[in-house]
C-alpha cells in the first residue's frame, strides 16, 4: 500500500463495517467509497474477510465436561440470594418454604455448633501433634482401604493432586462419641482436614435447604456439604477463597 491519500478513511471504512458509525458518518463513507476504487477495494476486502472468518471458523461451543461441571456447581447453589449469617437465613426462609421449615422443626435438633467446635479442635490438635495422618499416602487406593474395619461407612477419597490439592493421607477421630474418617489434603503450606460421617436426617435437610456452606470458625476456613449420604466438613487454616476452589475441584466429575 503506497502513500494513500485516503488513509484517513481507512479506520472510518472499518468502523462503518463494524457498525460503529452514526448514520451521517456512514453516509459520508458511502459517498467517498462510491467515487474511490481503492477504498472500495478495501471495503470489499474487509467484508470478504469477515464473511470468511464467520463461515469458515465456526464458534467452538462449550464442551460437555465443562457444561456438566458448571451445571453441577450451579445446582448446588441456593436458588435465591441469602444474606447474613446462619441464624438470619432461617428467618428469611420462613416465607418461601414454610412447609419444609415446619417439617424441619420436627427433626430432633443436634448441637451443630458444638460439633463445629470439636472439629476445629481436632484439626488444631492434629497439627500440634505433628502427626496429622495415621496413614500417609497420596494414593487414594491406599488411603481408602485403610479405613476398612475402622469405620462403618465409605467416604469419598479424591485425588486432587492435579488441581493443586494433593492428598497426603488419612486418620480417624472420635467426634461426639462417633468415629469419623478424616481425609487430609495439602494446599501450599496449609493442611485441609475433611471430616466425614454418615449424614443424619437433620444434616440431609440442612443441605437440601442450602443452610450449609463455606464459612469461618475461630479464623479457620470451613465448609460443609453432603454427598451420597455422607456429610463432609472441611477445616483449614487456608483462606476462604482457597476453600471454595477446593470444593469446586472436589465436586468435579
Amino acid at each position: 500500500m503506497q502513500a494513500d491519500p485516503c488513509e484517513e478513511f481507512h479506520l472510518l471504512i472499518q468502523a462503518d463495517l463494524d457498525g460503529e458509525l452514526t448514520a451521517n458518518e456512514a453516509a459520508e463513507v458511502a459517498v467517498h467509497v462510491a467515487g474511490c476504487p481503492a477504498c472500495a477495494k478495501i471495503q470489499a476486502d474487509l467484508l470478504g474477510l469477515r464473511l470468511r472468518l464467520r463461515a469458515e471458523l465456526p464458534r467452538a461451543a462449550a464442551g460437555a465436561a465443562t457444561r456438566a461441571a458448571v451445571a453441577k456447581r450451579l445446582a448446588a447453589m441456593p436458588a435465591r440470594p441469602r444474606t447474613g449469617a446462619r441464624r438470619s437465613s432461617w428467618a428469611s426462609f420462613a416465607g418461601g418454604i414454610a412447609l419444609a421449615a415446619s417439617i424441619l422443626l420436627l427433626v430432633p435438633m443436634v448441637d451443630l455448633d458444638g460439633t463445629g467446635r470439636e472439629l476445629v479442635a481436632a484439626h488444631v490438635q492434629a497439627l500440634q501433634s505433628g502427626n496429622p495422618v495415621a496413614v500417609e499416602s497420596s494414593d487414594r487406593h491406599t488411603v481408602k482401604p485403610w479405613f476398612d474395619g475402622k469405620i462403618r461407612f465409605s467416604p469419598a477419597v479424591k485425588d486432587l493432586t492435579q488441581d493443586g490439592f494433593p492428598l497426603i493421607g488419612g486418620r480417624t477421630e472420635v467426634i461426639g462419641g462417633q468415629t469419623v474418617a478424616v481425609m487430609v489434603y495439602r494446599r501450599r503450606g496449609h493442611l485441609i482436614d475433611v471430616f466425614a460421617w454418615p449424614s443424619g436426617t437433620l444434616e440431609t435437610w440442612r443441605a437440601a435447604l442450602g443452610l450449609d456452606g463455606t464459612g469461618t470458625r475461630d479464623g479457620f476456613a470451613t465448609a460443609t456439604w453432603v454427598s451420597d449420604g455422607i456429610t463432609y466438613h472441611a477445616v483449614s487454616s487456608t483462606d476462604g477463597a482457597e476453600m471454595v476452589h477446593f470444593l469446586g475441584h472436589w465436586w468435579e466429575p
Binding site: 460503529e20 471458523l57 461451543a61 461441571a69 450451579l74 441456593p78 437440601a208 469446586g248
Partner: protein, 181 residues
Amino acid sequence: MVILSRATPPIDRARFEAEILPHLDSASNFARWMVRDPGLSEDVVQEAMLRALTYFAGFRGGDGRAWLLQIVRNTANSMLAQRQSQPQAASDEAAAMNVADPAHNPEEAASAMQGAALLARALAALPDELRECLVLRELEELSYKQISEVVGVPMGTVMSRLWRARQALLGADAGGAAHAS
C-alpha cells in the same frame, strides 16, 4: 452439595443463570482462540466459571458477557503464564488447534477446506493482542466499547489493533490461498 455462603458473598443463582450462563459458549470460543489448545481451553473455561461464581456478588449488573469474557481473558493469561513456567514443550499451535496441514492434503482436496485451514492458521499465528481483538469482533461480534472493556485498552487502540489484525490476515490470504480466479 456445595453452597457458597459466608466465606464468599451470597450468590443469586437465578440471576447468574440469566445474565452469565448464556455466555458460556462465547467464553469457550474466546478461550479456545486465546490459548490455542483444546485441553487447556476447557480448563480455562471451567476455572473462569468458578471465578465468575466467586466474584458474581461483585458484579454490579450491566454487560454480563463482557464481564465474563474479561474473567476468561485473565484466567487464560494466568494459566498460560503458569504453563510457560513449567518445563514443558509448547505444543505446536496449528496441531493443537486441530488444523489439518494443507501440505498433507491430497491434491484434489477441496480448496475451500484448504482455505479454511490456512485462515485458521493465519488467525492462530497473529500476535495475541491482535488476535484477541479480532476474535471478539468478528466471531463474538462485540462492539468496540465491549472489546475495550474486556481487553482493558482505549477504543482507539481497539480500532488500530483490529485494522492491523485484518491487514495481516488479508496479507496472509494473498500469499497463501490465492483467490480462485
